[in-house]
Structure formats: structure tokens, C-alpha cells
Symmetry: C2
Subunit: 174 residues, 2 copies
């Protein structure tokens, strides 16, 4: 039987973009944000200098990897056909940085299985893990909402919530 096709988002799922915003904001303004300070607000808007930082060279290249993401992705690779799907087109400077970031942290995901797009409604698959409703709501397969501060107090609606990569392992490798 063909493996199910699993689509995995980058920022806020594989890449800990909040850790990066917090570090850049501290460096820029001396203010140390906590994740609970920015609940319910879009990531880029939530930080005073967020809109500037996403255009800064190196921002996307040096984002920390989400806890357990590498180990769980390796295990998932045996069971699923994985595609990494990132809405990278909004920040064209991020394209090459994201490619290099994937080479560093997820070299076992071949370039054929990487997608940089704008609107994810053009992507098809069996399962999608993403932290944004705008991506999950238009997907025809099974959807998982990865908990991040911007969505943590929202009704998950038709989507199943996952809190972290250990949680994904329980649900998808069980």
C-alpha cells in the first residue's frame, strides 16, 4: 500500500519561530517577552520589531529547531511520504535561508519533497500539520493544529490539536 502523504509546515511547527522573535526582540530593545505575553496575536505583529526582523538577513537561517522535531520526523519518514510545505513567498529573502536550514536540520527530506508557496490551498495530501487556520481550513485531508501562542486560546474547530512533537509521535506513530 502506498504511504500516506504527510505535509508539515515549517515556521511554528518545525522551526521555533517564537524563540527567534523573542531573541531578536531582546537584542533590539532589551525587552524579554514570554510566550504568554503574546497569546492570540499573529506572530509577526506580536513583537514591536517583528515586521523588521523577518526581513533581516539570517533571521530564518538561524531559527532554533522545535524540540523533538528531528527525531520524530525521522521516525515518521519510515511510515509516511513527507513533504515540507512553507509559505515562504511572503519573505523572498527567506527562500535560500529556509533551503539551507532544511539541509542542516532535515537533510533526510529530499529537495523533491520541499515546497515553498504562498497560498497553501494549491497543495494536496492526506495529512497536514500546521499552526495556522488559514492553511488548515482549506485542506481536504486530516488536519492537526500545532499549538502556538497565536492560536492557543482559539477554538480548534474541525482540526485536532497537537501540543508538541511528542504529541505528534503518539498520534501518528502509535
Amino acid at each position: 500500500m502506498a504511504k500516506k502523504r504527510l505535509l508539515v509546515d515549517m515556521d511554528g511547527v518545525l522551526a521555533d519561530v517564537y524563540a527567534q522573535f523573542i531573541a531578536y526582540e531582546f537584542e533590539a530593545s532589551g525587552t524579554r517577552f514570554k510566550r504568554e505575553d503574546v497569546v492570540g496575536i499573529d506572530e509577526v505583529q506580536a513583537f514591536p520589531n517583528g515586521k523588521k526582523h523577518v526581513y533581516q538577513k539570517g533571521f530564518f537561517r538561524t531559527i532554533p529547531v522545535m524540540n523533538d522535531a528531528v527525531d520524530v520526523m525521522k521516525q515518521l519518514s519510515a511510515k509516511y511520504e513527507i513533504f515540507i510545505v512553507s509559505a515562504a513567498m511572503e519573505f523572498p529573502n527567506s527562500l535560500f535561508e529556509k533551503y539551507e536550514w532544511l539541509d542542516e536540520h532535515f537533510p533526510f527530506i529530499h529537495w523533491k519533497h520541499r515546497v515553498f508557496c504562498g497560498d497553501k490551498s494549491v497543495i494536496q495530501g492526506d495529512i497536514l500539520i500546521d499552526d495556522h487556520f488559514k492553511n488548515l481550513d482549506y485542506f481536504s485531508g486530516k488536519t492537526y493544529l500545532f499549538t502556538q501562542p497565536h492560536n492557543s486560546n482559539a477554538d480548534p474547530k474541525a482540526h485536532e490539536r497537537v501540543a508538541n512533537w511528542k504529541n505528534i509521535a503518539e498520534k501518528l506513530l502509535g
Copy 2:
């Protein structure tokens, strides 16, 4: 009624990649190839220095636009929801160059409607215009094979052939 979703390939459809290979080859070796010299051979393989040139800075940024592509794409935009879908992941250096190329020649196609991927089987839509069987064969919608030297003597199989952008206008704007 919702507009049909039309997916359009870049190299060999919007971008005249053969013109670029011929120009680069002449510059490198003094040999002036004609399109009829390279019929039936994969583009990159067909030119002695092709495999080197695709990694050269500026190669993708300066490819000439295919005749009539801009005018016809503008007209198609009124009738279809267009996505430009390029297998850009094979040449990571091309990512930003392709983005800038689209900004220059097709600024009316928003970044939300641009996709850079590896394997196009992850992309869905109603119509696909592409010059490669490997992309058309796995597409579930209507397919058009754009004639290029590498495919010009091949059986179009289940795909409908289009010879150029005027021909696309006749078929899709009629």
C-alpha cells in the same frame, strides 16, 4: 462561479530556457546550437556546459520571456485563477532569481500565487501547462504539453499539445 485554477510552469513555458542555454553555450565554447540540434534530449544534458550553467549566478534571473507569454497571461488572469508552479528546488541558487524574474515580468501574479517545489505531484488544480511529462503524467486535471525541443518528437499521450502562447490563447481564451 469560481474561476478555474490554472497552473503554469516556468522554465520552457514562461521562460525561454533554450534561448538562455544557447546564449551561455556560445559564450562558453563558441558553438552556436540550434533548437533542432537538441531535439529529444533533456535540456540540461543537451548542452555541453548545461550542467555548469544552471548553477551560474544570473542564469535564471536573465532568461528571456517566451514570446507573447506576458500578454496572454494578462488576459488569462481575468478568466482563470493562475498559479505559477516551478520545480525550482533542484537549483537552490535559482530560488531568489526566479522570484525576482517573476517580479520583473509577471508582477500581476501575486506572491500568494507562486509555488517553488520539487515533485509537482503535490500540487492540485484544474489545468496544468508544462513541458515535462514527469509533471503532466501525475496531474489529475486537464493537461497541456508545451512543445519544446526535448519533447517535440514524443507522443503527447493523454496530453494536448500547445506550440506557443498564441496557441494557448486560442485554446483557453476562445
